[in-house]
């Protein structure tokens, strides 16, 4: 590992993401403010006003327009970023599908916040989970450090010639976005070198000598071939994510993979969870371990593409897994993570018992006590062998 002048500073998540964006210095940002993401675009607009970035900052009247402007700019060959939350993301959905189909490598931090209704400004994953089928790569970040690191890596993942897909970098609203944490930042020139120069790829709209028509209609005779083609791309991005994680590790000493495990190797029961709750769970795992209880944790970083094989490999030795979803999927088997993880095990030889907890909706506080409760209940189900009729339950709801 070469010696670089890394700096320890205290920043809130939004400021750290904005700093990463400044260091990336994208060609174009089109964004619209929304709680709890507002500070990202606020800090960034200050960078633009101060002249410390070369970015063309496009102010727009809505998130739908923000994503539309991003697609247009990206199609012209520019390096493009935006950021949003909740209803803003929902307003982008229509364009998000077009961004992925058009292979425009836009990078977008999503500061996760609950969707209405009832209206709420606090953190849960219902915004991101609604966009899970939009063809975007989705990374999740436990803390401020990971939000900063994932934002930088996302540029490389998105723009890799084998990928060329948009990437969403998720971080929990308020818990991560507004909490001041100490993180290690890279010098500007190291980020610049890591993300490399932005180079237009393939055919671009501004190549007037070789004109193309972008976004043509594809009806019954062609639409399906386009979708199948897109499927192949996202199905094969995992090696690239790992490769770039490895390169980032060499630069920073921080490991980035598909998931992170904590005391999982010899565990009986584990919790699988994404984003900031992994931090709380880690504390509970230590408390249980002190009592001689073999608890473990799996924190998922890459939700799209969903690492079916890798997760089966990581969890099949367990007796039981409690999957914690910070979003519900109304009317389905349980939360989105649970549904996918449970389905992944259908063909597996060794299947842990699997339960689902929906937690933290609308920013409901997730205390270590609640995590203890989830472990305790899962152990109980394991001991009695009595699987509840409903596979999901709400953790931390008044009942």
């Amino acid at each position: 590992m070469k010696t670089i002048n890394k700096k320890l500073i205290a920043l809130e998540g939004n400021a750290a993401v904005a700093l990463a964006m400044k260091q990336i210095n994208p060609d174009v940002i089109a964004a619209y403010p929304i709680t709890p993401q507002t500070e990202i675009v606020m800090y960034f607009s200050q960078y633009v006003a101060d002249g410390v970035v070369d970015t063309e900052y496009v102010t727009v009247e809505s998130e739908h327009s923000a994503m539309s402007a991003c697609i247009g700019a990206s199609a012209s060959g520019a390096r493009v970023m935006t950021a949003t939350s909740s209803q803003g993301l929902a307003l982008m959905w229509e364009m998000m599908y077009i961004a992925s189909a058009a292979r425009t490598p836009i990078v977008m931090p999503i500061v996760n916040r609950a969707l209405s209704g009832p209206i709420n400004i606090h953190g849960d994953h219902s915004d991101a989970m609604g966009a899970r089928d939009s063809g975007w790569i989705m990374l999740f970040s436990e803390n401020v450090q990971e939000a900063y690191d994932n934002t930088i890596q996302a540029i490389r993942i998105a723009e890799d010639p084998r990928v060329r897909l948009p990437v969403a970098v998720n971080l929990d609203g308020f818990i991560t976005s507004h909490a001041v944490e100490v993180l290690e930042t890279l010098p500007d020139e190291e980020v610049k070198a890591f993300v490399r120069e932005s180079k237009p790829w393939g055919r671009t709209l501004l190549d007037v000598d070789n004109p193309i028509t972008m976004g043509p209609v594809a009806l019954t005779d062609s639409y399906m071939e386009f979708k199948r083609n897109q499927r192949e791309v996202i199905d094969n991005v995992m090696p690239v994510i790992l490769e770039i994680g490895e390169e980032f590790n060499k630069l920073t000493g921080r490991k980035y993979s598909i998931y992170e495990e904590y005391k999982l190797e010899d565990a009986d029961v584990a919790i699988a969870v994404m984003n900031s709750t992994a931090g709380t769970t880690r504390v509970v795992v230590d408390e249980l371990r002190n009592k001689g209880i073999k608890a473990g944790l799996l924190k998922l970083r890459v939700f799209r593409p969903f690492p079916y094989k890798e997760l089966v490999e990581a969890l099949s030795h367990l007796k039981a897994v409690a999957v914690l979803d910070k979003a519900d999927s109304m009317g389905s088997l349980g939360g989105p993570l649970f549904g996918e993880l449970r389905s992944a095990f259908y063909e597996a030889k060794n299947k842990p018992l699997m339960l689902n907890y929906i937690f933290g909706l609308g920013g409901r506080d997730v205390t270590p006590d609640l995590i203890h409760k989830a472990y305790k209940e899962t152990y109980k189900v394991l001991e009695t062998g009595r699987i509840p009729e409903k596979l999901y339950s709400y953790l931390g709801v008044r009942e």
């Binding site: 393939g202 004109p211 028509t213 972008m214 043509p216 083609n229 192949e232």
Partner: protein, 95 residues
Amino acid sequence: MSLPKWYELPPGIYIEGGKEAGKYQTGGWRTFKPEVDFNKCTSCMFCWIYCPDSSIITKEQKMVDINYDHCKGCGICAHECPVKAISMLEEERVL
């Protein structure tokens, strides 16, 4: 003509060449057809400015015809024409 298989498609959603929209003859969507009375027309070009489908044909800075392969019959030209030289007639009656 055999259409490309999924793995033969280019990355993204584009096709070679510009002006592809011209290949789609959308005139068939029309219910009302604009008819120009050239005795009234002053070639002020308002219709040319306003036409959303670029269907006003001009020659030597004069309005000479309408491209009926692409005119969808929206009637904006007739509405904007300051000398009322364009009238919208139902296709059936025209036929």
